[in-house]
Symmetry: C2
Subunit: 330 residues, 2 copies
DNA sequence: CTACAAAAAGACAACGTTGTTTAAATTGGT
DNA sequence: ACCAATTTAAACAACGTTGTCTTTTTGTAG
């Protein structure tokens, strides 16, 4: 590989001058700068990042550990949010996917330390509490889409409750009155908080709790439960006769669309359907398109990166707002 | 940060001895090795990868450029395939997502060169022909899920035709006789090749072409077309009366499930449905589960990485077999 | 106990950069 | 034209490692 010295020889200057040109040092005469630039171009010189790192004693690397407990691909936006910023700030985002077992997480942290990562983002694939290896504290670290019980780390998670309140309020504002909420299982954080948000909305509108039914119909990612969910949903719809159904996550909405069709109900006309997540292709795959509260993954990725970039050290627990994606399902 | 010299001082040996221990050099006496190991542990020393790289003149970095023209998240498996191997071989997979514009691709390549990447994997998010920046040839490079017209690069793509032949054959073996193939648009490579595969299967079974109808019903990712697709599908089903429907991709199958329900046909009983892709959550979301030919993304990622690892330089055009994922839709 | 080979550990240079100091070239005022 | 001041460029050390060579220690045969 061509080095700074090769360039210097070719241009007939000291190698330090080449370094100056590469680093935009203004104290080099235009004539020399031109010579060097020409030589760089002719030889195809590219600075050696590893050498720069050793000398500068800065890595420019931010680590991103993706806790791949579940394989929920739409969370890829978390990575993109961080990576887009990294690119813009000329930093390296070193992404590592880890498996369930602790060994692998610690291995990833070790790995990042060896690269002298200047900060680490630890992201979970769904909103949950995590326990991270203690070594993580040796370097600035942020948790994204998760939080730790200890309060040792800053974190950002989706504002589940507010999202639920908001979409429920939107339903009510549009005149829907009887809402069936087919919630996630309540042992999932999102399930608990979303329930609270829906209840808050009803309370704020002074509506009787007779007008809302909240049922946990699904355990995440469980196929057997899903068919049960469909039956439960059909049953609840015929008994409770809601004019709107709020689904705990987009996959539930798929079930509901099928149930609605089976019952002869036209979505968006006979019955309104709303949901959470904006799960990749699902909302646009359904007809009519599913109006849903989009998880702020991209934003959380950005926020986490910016936290590190700003050199912050406060242990804030931030929440990120969902955004309502309007389609035609209500 | 603690360096090799700090460790040496703490252990009372020459810093070179520490280096030897770190690199498992057998020529260090057990007693000293122990002392050093103890010091390493006590000081929390971690080798500096950047310094190692400069001295060793090897980066251990493989670049992965993800052409993010379309945001098809299930292709994440391409990255995982490569990354799992990288981890196992103690290499670094540097993943860069790029946008449509050429500038960004070239920027990514530059970036990787600066890191002295020992090889580059260029992956497309759907099977297509690409034109890559010429600088890529300066380093060992492989194309995954795409190929270049020039033949300058080795590549691996899914074996679309064989997959279509295989699933069609499977349908025929199970006794299905009248197949409706709701294909992708034929200006997509997968559309063309899958059509050829279906036709081959019918020819090999000496079946009249009266028993198969092939229609392009969808342009990838186009919502407007999708509702048209549903109508077309309904129309074709009632007119042609197929006993099996093969869908050009899993999202089409979603439409078909709805259409089938509307027509009072029970999937897997009254009508068999098969598909391509194994698109993330879709096949398990549908009830009954969708039997589909899974794209070999993970394998392609692995293959590409291994190609580089093996130091190959032949310009092979490899194809990767889909795998049939049996569920209950036929 | 000596000699000598083999094993182990140390010294020093090198990797490709950048930071710092020192020297050379240029400029400006008289 | 000369000196000082300033701008520009060169020289050299340093970053944290590993490669190579040299020295020291250890072990063994006589």
């Amino acid at each position: 590989m061509v080095t700074i010295k090769d360039v210097a020889a070719h241009a007939g200057v000291a190698f330090k001058t080449v370094s100056r040109v590469v680093n935009n040092d203004p104290t080099v005469k235009p004539k020399n700068r031109e010579k060097v630039l020409k030589a760089i171009h002719e030889l195809g010189y590219r600075p050696n990042r590893a050498a720069q790192m050793t000398r500068r004693k800065k890595s420019g690397i931010i680590g991103f550990i993706a806790d791949e407990l579940l394989r929920v691909p739409y969370t890829f936006d978390l990575i993109r949010g961080a990576q887009d910023l990294a690119w813009r700030h000329n930093k390296e985002l070193m992404v590592l996917n880890v498996n369930v077992d602790k060994y692998s997480v610690e291995g990833a942290v070790d790995h990042l330390f060896e690269h002298r990562a200047e900060g680490i983002i630890y992201a979970a694939m769904y909103h949950r509490e995590v326990s991270v290896p203690s070594q993580l504290a040796e370097v600035p670290a942020v948790l994204a889409n998760c939080y730790d019980s200890s309060g040792l780390y800053p974190s950002i998670v989706p504002d589940e409750k507010e999202a639920a309140r908001e979409i429920t309020q939107t339903l009510l504002d549009k005149g829907y009155q009887r809402v069936l909420f087919l919630n996630l299982n309540e042992n999932i954080i999102a399930g608990r908080l979303r329930k609270a948000g829906v209840e808050q909305a009803f309370a704020e509108n002074n509506l009787s709790t007779e007008n809302v039914v909240i049922e946990s119909v699904i355990v995440r990612e469980n196929q057997i439960e899903r068919s049960v969910a469909r039956e439960r949903a059909a049953d609840l719809i015929t008994r409770f006769k809601p004019d709107a159904i709020l689904c705990g996550q987009d996959p539930i909405a798929v079930e509901v669309y099928f149930v609605a069709q089976a019952l002869g109900l036209q979505v968006g006309k006979d019955i309104g359907i709303a949901s959470f997540d904006d799960w990749d292709i699902i909302p646009t795959l359904l007809q009519p398109g599913l109006t849903t509260m989009a998880l702020p993954h991209y934003y959380m990725g950005q926020w986490a990166f910016n936290y590190l970039l700003d050199g912050r050290s406060d242990k804030i627990r931030e929440t990120a707002r969902f955004s309502l994606v309007n389609r035609q399902s209500f």
